[in-house]
């Protein structure tokens, strides 16, 4: 039983890693422009699709595919900001949200238009599928890499936000855009950086998501995007540490739900996630680590 529990925890950590990567981007964009970016999940899809094209179609090696995916994710997210959100800075919050919904539908359907909605298989090299034996549980190399590279990416992100000029500019803009502008910080560039960094992480998450589940399709980003939002809310929207924490908690909770409750309840997985969201918003409106805000309750 304890091996089973350990196995579930590992599965939860793997799922949680992917949620965490996407949730961090959500939170970062929210903290700087107060926008829930619905299209963020679709950047995950774009990451997965570009992995499919670079790796499976064009036959590029993984060491080219991975950076290419990250760059494409960043570029798409920055482009979304430039074309859709920058022209309406200062408009009511809800406008931004509706716009992001529109961008999301637009991206999904352009992808369907170009590629059809059919799922395509994405097979990573078999070396990644090999199983490692870990205290009587099985962990594939890919899963191990997912957790390790997530941790690495988050450390790099933290250093970037804390130490670099651009990171500091981003935090200043999030704190107070007017004051930041007065201090000579190019806030549009800082905002775009937040989008780009979030997009890079989301693209990377898409690569892992597609690789782990073995297939990619134009609508695959929607559910991970929404769940990452839930994760960000659990952790406290706007807090990066909170988003990571929320991502892992949600991943663990979801896996535990499926793993330990009778299988009848497994079908209620998505309902459970959203029930949890509504509950968290009501009981703990600022999440675990978020700052208080009047919007939520």
């Amino acid at each position: 039983m304890s091996a089973y529990l350990l196995q579930q925890i590992i599965n939860g950590l793997v799922l949680g890693s992917m949620y965490a990567l996407v949730a961090v981007g959500f939170s970062m964009i929210y903290s700087i422009v107060r926008l829930i970016n619905f299209a963020h999940g679709d950047v995950v899809m774009i990451g997965a699709l570009s992995t499919f094209f670079a790796f499976a179609v064009m036959g590029l090696p993984l060491w080219v595919t991975i950076p290419a995916t990250v760059v494409i994710g960043a570029a798409v997210a920055a482009l979304i900001d430039l074309l859709a959100f920058r022209p309406q800075r200062g408009a009511p919050q809800v406008n931004g949200f509706i716009t992001s919904l529109g961008v999301s539908i637009l991206i999904q359907n352009v992808a369907i238009l170009l590629l059809t909605a059919q799922p395509r298989p994405l097979r990573l090299p078999s070396a990644l599928k090999a199983n490692l034996d870990l205290f009587g549980t099985r962990l594939s190399v890919l899963d191990g890499l997912i957790v390790a590279s997530t941790v690495l990416a988050l450390v790099v992100l933290t250093l970037f936000v804390r130490r670099t000029r651009l990171g500091i500019a981003m935090r200043a803009t999030a704190e107070n855009p007017h004051a930041a502008q007065l201090a000579g910080i190019p806030i549009n560039r800082a905002i775009m950086t937040a989008f780009a960094v979030g997009g890079a992480l989301a693209g990377f998450a898409g690569l892992m998501w597609g690789g782990r589940y073995g297939q990619v399709d134009p609508l695959m980003g929607f559910v991970p995007g929404l769940k990452a939002f839930v994760a960000a809310v659990i952790g406290g929207v706007g807090s990066l540490t909170g988003a990571v924490l929320g991502g892992y908690l949600l991943g663990l909770a979801e896996v535990m739900l499926v793993g330990f409750l009778p299988s009848d309840y497994g079908a209620y997985r998505d309902a459970f996630v959203f029930g949890l969201l509504i509950l968290v918003l009501l009981v703990l409106p600022n999440g675990l680590l978020g700052q208080s805000s009047e919007d939520r309750a």
């Binding site: 406008n95 509706i98 539908i105 369907i112 929404l226």
Partner: protein, 348 residues
């Protein structure tokens, strides 16, 4: 004479007469397929008008309409479903439901009431949220409703969907319910309730200070919107004649939001016009889509229209007002102070 032309009652009666003439023409001259398309456009008008009322006037941003449509649609379909087929298709129905075979009107009414009831229960917790938090929470309602319907096989046939629902909806029923929707939401909008809702939307604190009951008014608007969503779902089910848990999805929520945005949030006539416009655009593009094999073109066009409207004319066709109205609906303060309080500054 001029005052008469500007009177909403005259406008409404003229519109109703045009509607009657159009429906009479359609029922006698057009094919069943064309009537289905027109019926769907009419149902969309009901949905858009009710959403514009419950979302636009209150400033609440709910995406939950499809969830309420699902409740209304399934309840009504179970009520009208032929009793002879219920026993093997829906084995878990309680005895008193298994034998009934209602007519359309009471069934749609029950569908609407069931949706309203669900709105009361879910509205209490959910309406405490604001802005996009409310949006995502109500999006969750759609997913929760879908999962429940999917798993309640014995009552709803789960993922297989209910097929063979009697085709009871004709264009007269759609027109009738559309007229009722307009009458109710229009009267409410131009009553003390509507003004209370606008006051809450513009400045919640000030509204509370002058004694407006915020949560009660919000819940009322939410429930009225949900009632008509339920009715719309019921009409839809009896028009299309089958219903699956995926019939009313997030894409539909998005389409309805687009209609409200284009019409101007809170504008009832605007929402109805936008619903007609989008239905026409969809039907114009669909053949092109099929011809080219370019599936997704409809959604791309609509998303592009939405983004263009938000960038170029964020207030939509009519803002919160109506093309004809005896009383000004726009808060007077707006004219004096362009940056009203619901415009959120980037900073905070």
């Amino acid at each position: 004479m001029k005052a008469l032309l500007r009177s909403p009652a005259v406008f409404g009666l003229v519109a109703l007469a045009c509607g009657v003439a159009f429906v009479a023409f359609a029922e006698f001259r057009l094919s069943s397929f064309e009537r289905t398309i027109i019926g769907l456009a009419g149902v969309n008008m009901i949905l858009a008008v009710s959403l514009s009322f419950s979302n636009g006037l209150t400033g609440l941003f709910s995406l939950g309409h499809p969830a309420f449509m699902m409740v209304g649609g399934y309840v009504a379909a179970i009520l009208t479903f032929p009793a002879s087929r219920k026993s093997f298709m829906l084995p878990d129905l309680p005895g008193w439901l298994a034998g009934v075979e209602w007519a359309l009107f009471p069934a749609t009414l029950m569908g609407g009431l069931a949706a309203a009831l669900v709105a009361v229960v879910t509205g209490f917790p959910v309406l405490r949220l604001r802005g996009h938090y409310l949006a995502v929470a109500t999006l969750g309602l759609i997913i929760i409703a879908r999962v429940i319907i999917n798993n309640a096989d014995g009552l709803t046939r789960g993922a297989l969907g209910l097929s063979g629902i009697p085709r009871l909806t004709d264009l007269w029923w759609v027109l009738g319910w559309l007229a009722v929707t307009f009458l109710v939401t229009w009267r409410l909008k131009h009553s003390s309730v509507g003004r209370a809702l606008l006051a809450i939307r513009e400045n919640e604190l000030a509204a509370a200070c002058i004694g407006v009951h915020r949560s009660a008014n919000r819940l009322a608007a939410f429930v009225v919107g949900a009632f008509f969503a339920g009715v719309g779902g019921a009409l839809w089910a009896h028009l299309v004649t089958n219903l699956t848990p995926g019939s009313f999805d997030i894409l539909l929520a998005f389409m309805l939001v687009v209609m409200v945005v284009i019409g101007g949030s809170g504008s009832l006539v605007g929402a109805a016009l936008a619903a007609v416009m989008l239905s026409v655009v969809t039907e114009l593009i669909r053949p092109i889509e099929r011809e080219l094999g370019a599936y997704g073109l409809v959604q791309i066009t609509i998303a592009a229209i939405l983004i263009a409207v938000l960038l170029l004319r964020p207030q939509g066709l009519f803002g919160s007002g109506e093309p004809v109205s005896r009383r000004p609906v726009e808060p007077i303060g707006r004219a004096l102070k362009p940056a009203s309080s619901n415009r959120q500054e980037v900073s905070q």
